[in-house]
C-alpha cells in the first residue's frame, strides 16, 4: 500500500514537471508574440496529422530508442558516454565503407546489407572502446575523451564525404552518392519507415531490458556503477565491465548509424548522427535510467521533433523551440525529483 502511495506521489511530481515545462515554453511563446495553443496544436497535428507524419515520427523513434538503449548500459556502469555522437557517426562510416566495397560485386544485396550493418555495429563498438581505453589506460575522463572522439569522428566523416568518397565530379554537403535502391532497408509502401528498423529497435529494447534487469552481468554492471571500489572488492573485474558497457553502447550506436545510412538517408551525410546521441542522453536522464519508460518517452521526443517542423512553415517560429521544450522538460522533471526528495524524504 505504501508502495503504491509513493508511486502515485512520484507520478504527481513528474506530471508537475511536465506542466512546468509546458508553462515555461508557453511563456517563451508569448514573449515572441506567438499563440501558444496554436503552436502546441501544430506540433500535435504535425506529428499525428496523417499516416506519413506518424511514419516520420517512427523514423526518428528508432534511432532515439536504440542510442538510449546503449546509453542505459553505460549509465548503469556509472559512465557518461558523451562520445555517443561519434559512435553513431563511425558506425555510419563503417556501414557506408563496407557497402561501397560490395556495390559492384554479385553478392546478394541482402547479404551486403547485413554485412554492412554488422560492420557499422563493429565501428560504433570500436569507437566506444577507444573512449573506454582512454579512460582505463590513459586516465582520461570519458566525458572529455568522448568529446574529443566526437570531434575526430565528425572531421573524419566530413573528410570522407568531401574527399575520398565524394561524388564523381562534385563534393557536396548532401553527402556521398546514394546507394542503389536494392541496397536500402526495405520500407513500407509509400513510406520512409522500414519495418526492419522497427524490429531492430524493439529487439534492442528487449535485449537491454533483460540484460540490465535480469542477468548477472547487468547486476554486476550496476554494482560497478554504484560503487566501483566495493564492486572490485566483491570480486568484479571493474575495468573490464566498464569496457564491456562501452562496447555494448557502441554496438547500439553503431547500429543506429547503420540504420541511418541503410534505412533513412541511403548514403553518408555530414550530420549523420542528427544529434540523436545528445537527445538520447536527455531521454536517459528523463526516464531515470529505467528501460521500462524508454519506448513511450522516446516516442514523445520523436513526435516533438517531427511536429516541430510545422512551426517555421506555418507560423514562422523556429523549430528549435521543440528542443527548448525537450530540454526544459528534462530540467523541470529533475528539479521536481529534487523537490520530491526534499519533502517526501531522502530514501
Amino acid at each position: 500500500m505504501n508502495q503504491t502511495r509513493t508511486r502515485s506521489i512520484s507520478l504527481l511530481f513528474q506530471l508537475g514537471g511536465l506542466a512546468l515545462a509546458v508553462l515555461f515554453v508557453t511563456i517563451i511563446l508569448l514573449l515572441v508574440d506567438a499563440q501558444p495553443m496554436e503552436a502546441f496544436r501544430l506540433i500535435w497535428e504535425g506529428a499525428t496529422g496523417n499516416p506519413t507524419r506518424i511514419a516520420s515520427v517512427f523514423v526518428v523513434w528508432v534511432p532515439l530508442l536504440l542510442v538510449t538503449c546503449g546509453l542505459l548500459a553505460t549509465f548503469t556502469a556509472g559512465l557518461w558516454n558523451i562520445g555517443i555522437e561519434g559512435q553513431i557517426t563511425v558506425g555510419a562510416i563503417f556501414t557506408t565503407g563496407v557497402m561501397r566495397l560490395f556495390l559492384d560485386t554479385s553478392i546478394s544485396p541482402v547479404l551486403v546489407i547485413i554485412i554492412s550493418m554488422l560492420a557499422g555495429m563493429l565501428g560504433g563498438a570500436l569507437w566506444a572502446a577507444l573512449a573506454g581505453i582512454l579512460k582505463t589506460f590513459g586516465g582520461v575522463n570519458e566525458i572529455f575523451g568522448g568529446l574529443g572522439l566526437n570531434f575526430i569522428a565528425t572531421a573524419l566523416n566530413i573528410g570522407l564525404i568531401f574527399g575520398a568518397w565524394s561524388r564523381p565530379g562534385i563534393a557536396s554537403m548532401s553527402g556521398t552518392e546514394p546507394f542503389p535502391e536494392h541496397f536500402w532497408l526495405p520500407t513500407f509502401q509509400n513510406f520512409r519507415l522500414s519495418l526492419w528498423s522497427i524490429g531492430f529497435a524493439v529487439l534492442g529494447l528487449i535485449i537491454i531490458y533483460f540484460l540490465l534487469q535480469g542477468t548477472h552481468f547487468g547486476l554486476r554492471l550496476k554494482a560497478v556503477g554504484k560503487g566501483m571500489k566495493s564492486a572490485f572488492r566483491m570480486g568484479i573485474p571493474t575495468w573490464q565491465h566498464m569496457m564491456l558497457s562501452f562496447v555494448i553502447c557502441g554496438l547500439f550506436a553503431g547500429l543506429t548509424g547503420a540504420i541511418q545510412v541503410t534505412g533513412v538517408y541511403h548514403r553518408l551525410i555530414p550530420s549523420i548522427s542528427s544529434g540523436y546521441g545528445f537527445m538520447g542522453l536527455m531521454i536517459a536522464m528523463l526516464i531515470n535510467y529505467q528501460a521500462i519508460w524508454l519506448a513511450p518517452i522516446a516516442l514523445f521526443f520523436a513526435a516533438l521533433n517531427i511536429g516541430g517542423i510545422q512551426l517555421p512553415i506555418v507560423i514562422k517560429l523556429d523549430s528549435a523551440l521543440t528542443g527548448v521544450l525537450q530540454g526544459s522538460l528534462v530540467l523541470f522533471i529533475l528539479i521536481m525529483q529534487g523537490i520530491k526528495q526534499r519533502f517526501v524524504g531522502k530514501k
Binding site: A223, G227, R233, M234, K347
Partner: protein
C-alpha cells in the same frame, strides 16, 4: 547555548527511528548520548544538524524554536557536527579547507588566516601543519581540523559522533582536554558514543537511547553495569579467547618492502598459520593498513614476496587473491565493501558462487538473502538497500557475504562503530571459521580487542613492524607503550632473535 529537543519523531519507512524524544542539554555541559548501533543516536544528531528533518517535534535553542533545514542552517545557528568520517575536501591543503568555511570576505588572506589558525590550535594543544594536504592526515588529525573549522565558523554547540574510533590514545587525550576547555568556555558539547569508558571519563551527564526511545538520563558518577543494562536491556561479557592455530603455514611474507608515502615498511618476514588470528596494532597511519593492502594485492610491493598456500602471488591483483580463497573486509564499508544502492539480495547474488547462468534466479537469491538475514541476525529485509542498514548490520552483512570456503580473511577495524553485542557476535562468527582452519589477519585500534582475540600480535610504529608477539604474554601496558613508540629496543632484540631462528 541551551539545546532542547521536544517530542522528536522520525520514521524511515517502517522503522521508527526516534520516538517522542525530549531532551534538554545545558549550555557549558558535556552531554553523552549512549546507545548501541541503530538505537537512534545518529538520527537524532542528524536532525539537530539539519541533515534530515523530523516528522514531528521541534528544536529549541536557548528557548527559541528554530527550523533547521540544512547543515548550512545549523551552522548559522551555531551548531556544528563532527562526523564519524569527517567531511572535508581531501585534495586541498589544510588552510584552504579552513578558508572554505570562512564567512564573508571575497579575498581570503592566507597569512592572516594561518596566523589565526595557529593561535586557535595552540589553545587546544593541536599541532597541525596548515600547509599539509588534507588527504595526508590521519583520522585523528582530520578530526582536530574539523573541530577547529567548526569553532572558526562560530559553532557554539558541537556534536561529536563516535569521535574516538580510529584515533590514538594520545589523540583521544588531546581531544578530551580540548572538549573540556570548550565546555568551560560555555560551549555545549554533545558526545555520541557507544564506548562506556569514554563517556564515563568525559561526560557530566549521559542520555541513553534504545530502539528509538530515550530510556533515561544518568548524571556522573556512573555505575557501569547500570549503563550497560540501560543500553542493551541485559548484561553481557566479552567472549573467550580460544586458540585453534595449527602448524601448517597458509600465508607468508618474505622480505616484503612496501612504500606508500610517507611510509616505508621494510623487511617484513612473517608466517601465518592455519586457524591463527593475528592482530595488527598501532596508531592510525603507522603502516598497518598499508601492509594489509600489500598482502592482498591492492598495493604493489617494491620488493619481496607474498606467498599464499605455497603459491607466489606477488604483484597479482586482488581478484587473483580472491580466487585463492583470500578475502579482505575494508574499514570503510560503504566505499570499499558494500555497494550503496544495491539491496541485500543483490549483494548475495553478486557474491554467490552458485547459480551463475546468464539470467538471475531472483527467487533463489531472495531466499538465500532471507536465510542469511536470519542466520546473521541482520536487521533489514532482502530488498533493503545496504545504506539503509545501521553500521552494525552493514558489518554483519559484509560478514555474511564472505565466501563459505576461505583460507584467509583480512579485516580492517572489524568492530569499529559496532556495539558490544555486535562485536561479540562478529568475533563469534570469525572464530567459527578459525575452527574450520581459516586464518585471520586484522587491524584494530582497540588494544583490548587485539589482546582478546589474537594469537599473535604485530605492532606498528611509523612504518616499523615488530616481530610477532605472543598475545598471551603481552600486557595492555606493554602494547600501549609500543604503539606509542616506547620500548622498541627490546622488540628489535626479539626481532633479531626471531629472524635468526627463522633463518636456521
Amino acid at each position: 547555548m541551551n539545546v532542547e529537543f521536544k517530542n522528536i519523531n522520525k520514521h524511515f519507512g517502517p522503522v521508527h527511528a526516534n520516538v517522542d524524544i525530549n531532551l534538554n542539554i545545558q549550555s557549558g555541559s558535556i552531554q553523552g548520548i549512549l546507545g548501541e548501533n541503530g538505537a537512534g543516536k545518529s538520527t537524532l544528531m542528524k536532525i539537530l544538524s539539519g541533515f534530515i528533518q523530523p516528522d514531528s517535534g521541534g528544536i529549541y535553542l536557548d528557548g527559541k524554536a528554530v527550523l533547521i533545514d540544512s547543515p548550512a542552517d545549523a551552522i548559522k545557528y551555531g551548531i556544528g557536527m563532527l562526523h564519524q568520517d569527517p567531511l572535508d575536501f581531501p585534495p586541498m591543503r589544510l588552510i584552504e579547507n579552513f578558508i572554505v568555511g570562512q564567512r564573508g570576505g571575497l579575498v581570503p588572506s592566507y597569512k592572516e588566516t594561518i596566523k589565526e589558525f595557529k593561535e586557535l590550535q595552540s589553545r587546544f594543544g593541536f599541532s597541525l601543519n596548515p600547509e599539509a594536504y588534507v588527504d595526508t592526515l590521519t583520522v585523528g588529525e582530520r578530526q582536530q581540523l574539523e573541530i577547529l573549522r567548526l569553532l572558526w565558523m562560530g559553532a557554539s554547540a558541537l556534536i561529536l559522533d563516535e569521535p574516538t574510533t580510529g584515533i590514538s590514545a594520545q589523540q583521544k587525550e588531546k581531544l578530551f582536554a580540548a572538549l573540556k576547555i570548550l565546555a568551560e568556555q560555555g560551549k555545549t558539547i554533545i558526545f555520541v558514543s557507544h564506548k562506556l569508558e569514554d563517556v564515563e571519563i568525559l561526560c557530566s551527564k549521559v542520555a541513553i537511547l534504545r530502539k528509538g526511545y530515550l530510556v533515561g538520563e544518568v548524571p556522573s558518577p556512573y555505575d557501569t553495569d547500570q549503563l550497560v543494562e540501560m543500553m542493551f536491556g541485559k548484561v553481557i561479557s566479552l567472549g573467550d579467547r580460544n586458540t585453534v592455530a595449527q602448524n601448517d603455514v597458509v600465508f607468508e611474507l618474505r622480505d616484503l618492502f612496501v612504500e606508500h608515502y610517507p611510509l616505508k615498511i621494510e623487511n617484513v618476514n612473517f608466517q601465518l598459520r592455519s586457524g591463527e588470528v593475528i592482530g595488527l596494532a598501532g596508531m592510525e597511519g603507522s603502516g598497518q593498513d598499508v601492509l594489509l593492502r600489500a598482502c592482498v594485492g591492492l598495493l604493489r610491493p617494491v620488493s619481496g614476496k607474498v606467498i599464499v598456500k605455497g603459491k607466489d602471488l606477488t604483484n597479482k591483483n586482488y581478484l587473483e587473491f580472491m580466487q585463492n580463497e583470500v578475502s579482505f573486509l575494508p574499514a570503510s564499508r560503504l566505499e570499499e565493501g558494500l555497494v550503496p544502492g544495491l539491496s541485500l539480495a543483490e549483494h548475495f547474488t553478486i557474491a554467490g558462487e552458485e547459480k551463475k547462468g546468464l539470467f538471475i534466479d531472483k527467487e533463489y537469491f531472495r531466499e538465500k538473502a532471507e536465510n542469511m538475514i536470519d542466520e546473521y541476525h541482520i536487521i533489514g529485509r532482502s530488498d533493503s538497500t545496504v545504506e539503509s542498514l545501521s553500521g552494525g548490520n552493514q558489518q554483519r552483512a559484509a560478514l555474511a557475504l564472505l565466501k563459505k570456503s576461505l583460507s584467509i580473511i583480512l579485516l580492517e577495524h572489524p568492530t569499529r562503530g559496532l556495539d558490544i553485542e555486535s562485536a561479540i557476535y562478529m568475533w563469534g562468527k570469525l572464530k567459527e571459521r578459525c575452527l574450520q582452519g581459516c586464518s585471520i589477519f586484522f587491524i584494530s585500534g582497540d588494544l583490548e580487542e587485539i589482546l582478546q582475540y589474537s594469537d599473535r600480535i604485530l605492532v606498528f610504529f611509523s612504518g616499523h613492524v615488530s616481530p610477532p608477539l605472543d598475545a598471551a604474554t603481552t600486557s595492555l601496558e606493554q602494547l600501549g607503550q609500543l604503539i606509542g613508540g616506547k620500548g622498541w629496543d627490546q622488540v628489535f632484540e626479539i626481532k633479531e632473535n626471531y629472524e635468526s631462528n627463522a633463518n636456521t
